[in-house]
């Protein structure tokens, strides 16, 4: 099991926001990064190809029962929930959509909080609904680090606002600050 995990949730405007954060992380980033973006249920995952071009870290679509490894960005496949198992592996599910979404950020965050506890960093980015709010609360409750994109800067503020409301302990940061925060992990 890796020593920690970064979990990110994004919806409307998410691709641009992620483009601020992910490409600068080094190829040997010491943690895995798991990402849920609300996308329509099509079979092809264009996000993987897009970020694979932009990023120095390895980028791939999450597979069922795949062990998490550092230096890798995992995107949830369209039309599946993505969960983290206690032993540090990924799992997929076709359970009902949550917050009208599959994949749902709450499903990822809640399971990751159980698995990683204080070693988890959860980040809620721009979006138009309240997915991720309950999950971020679970991350806080488990002693993890909760981060919310500054709503003033977010393309759509609703999702970070809802997350910050639900999780009072969340740190509010601009994308630049989030990128710097994640980069700090490298030198620690």
């Amino acid at each position: 099991m890796t020593q920690g995990l970064v979990a990110i949730g994004a919806s409307a405007g998410g691709v641009q926001a992620l483009s601020h954060i992910l490409p600068d992380l080094p190829a040997d980033y010491p943690l895995p990064v798991v990402v849920v973006v609300h996308i329509p249920p099509r079979k092809d995952n264009a996000l993987v190809a897009l970020f694979d071009r932009k990023c120095r870290m390895r980028v791939k679509e999450a597979e069922d029962k795949e062990p998490l490894t550092s230096g890798t960005v995992y995107f949830a496949p369209p039309d599946y929930h993505l969960l983290v198992e206690a032993e540090g592996a990924l799992a997929l599910s076709t359970e009902e959509p949550v917050n009208h979404s599959r994949p749902a950020i709450d499903v990822l965050f809640e399971s990751a909080a159980d698995a990683y506890g204080a070693a988890l960093t959860g980040i809620v980015l721009t979006g138009a609904n309240n997915d991720g709010a309950a999950g971020l609360q679970a991350i806080c409750a488990a002693g993890g680090t909760a981060i919310v994109q500054n709503p003033d800067e977010a393309e759509v503020a609703a999702m970070p606002v809802a997350a910050a409301d639900a999780c009072r302990g969340a740190l509010v940061m601009t994308l630049d600050e989030i990128a710097a925060h994640l980069a700090k992990t490298v030198t620690q």
Binding site: K43, E85, S93, T94, E95, D114
Partner: protein, 274 residues
């Protein structure tokens, strides 16, 4: 740090279900089963998992309620149309060469996959020589599968999928609309055997030519996945076909070398002949 109480309660409940009712969820993927148990606890109105456990142990009428949470029943007809297209174009030509066929839909849930295959086999002229076996552990799901009734608002998606899968007619030829429901033609399941069968605890079926088991393995942990993939290998005729979900894979399975990839991108495998 000691183990969280909730984790202890979940393990005890799963043990209790197995010991009292022989339903074995102990090797289901834990994160997802936990979600569904917490959902059941909340929606059935219990203060804790322990309270839910007590109720289900002392009142067997609670069991069907709980099973409906523990078994995931979300599916659609012709889900991932390209899978069914690959069956039609690449697998069916091989199946044609057999005098009779056995097809197993393992974990059939409400029957969406069964009816999809039944329609496909009818259009390809194989229905008359095929016996379908549709199995599930949830009696309520088997009953729904036998009935083959789906709400009409879902049928629009089924129709789109059917067309993209290479369907030769109009899906509406296979059902009659009735008060917001689509009732599928009962002759489609005339040669289907419905059966209560557990992939976890029951034995292999014999000499299948095709096993379709989509988005079932993802609910199992790796140990159980290995058992079930082994069970499939034993249940298949030599060179028989296995289709799994588009995001499932035999890659992490200890049984992977008993199969060869047949249509890699659609996760269709073939049992090796030895």
């Amino acid at each position: 740090m000691s183990e969280p109480v909730e984790e202890i309660e979940i393990q005890l409940l799963l043990d209790a279900l197995y010991r009292h009712y022989h339903y074995d969820f102990r090797h289901y993927a834990r994160a997802s089963i936990k979600r569904r148990l917490l959902q059941a606890q909340k929606q059935l109105g219990f203060d804790s998992i322990s309270a839910l456990q007590s109720a289900v142990l002392h009142d067997e009428t609670m069991l069907p309620n709980l099973l409906n949470y523990l078994t995931v029943q979300v599916s659609e007809m012709f889900r991932d149309p390209s899978y069914f297209r690959a069956l039609r174009e690449k697998v069916i030509p091989h199946l044609r060469t057999y005098p009779s066929l056995k097809v197993w839909v393992a974990g059939c849930s409400h029957g969406e996959e069964l009816y999809s295959l039944a329609i496909l086999f009818r259009e390809e002229g194989l229905a008359e020589k095929t016996i379908f076996y549709a199995t599930d552990i949830n009696p309520a799901a088997l009953k729904a599968a036998k009935a083959g009734v789906y709400s009409l608002d879902r049928v629009r998606l089924f129709t789109e999928n059917y067309q993209q899968s290479g369907g030769q007619c109009s899906l509406s030829e296979y059902y009659t609309a009735d008060y917001g429901r689509a009732v599928f033609d009962q002759s489609l399941r005339a040669r289907t055997v419905f059966s209560d069968h557990s992939l976890v605890t029951d034995a292999a079926f014999g000499e299948m030519h095709l096993i379709s088991c989509r988005n079932v393995l993802i609910y199992f942990d790796r140990e159980l996945q290995d058992r079930v993939v082994g069970l499939f290998a034993e249940s298949l005729a030599r060179r028989g076909f296995l289709g799994i979900g588009s995001k499932e894979s035999l890659r992490f399975s200890a049984q992977a070398d008993r199969f060869s990839e047949f249509v890699r991108e659609e996760r269709i495998y073939r049992r090796k002949s030895r």
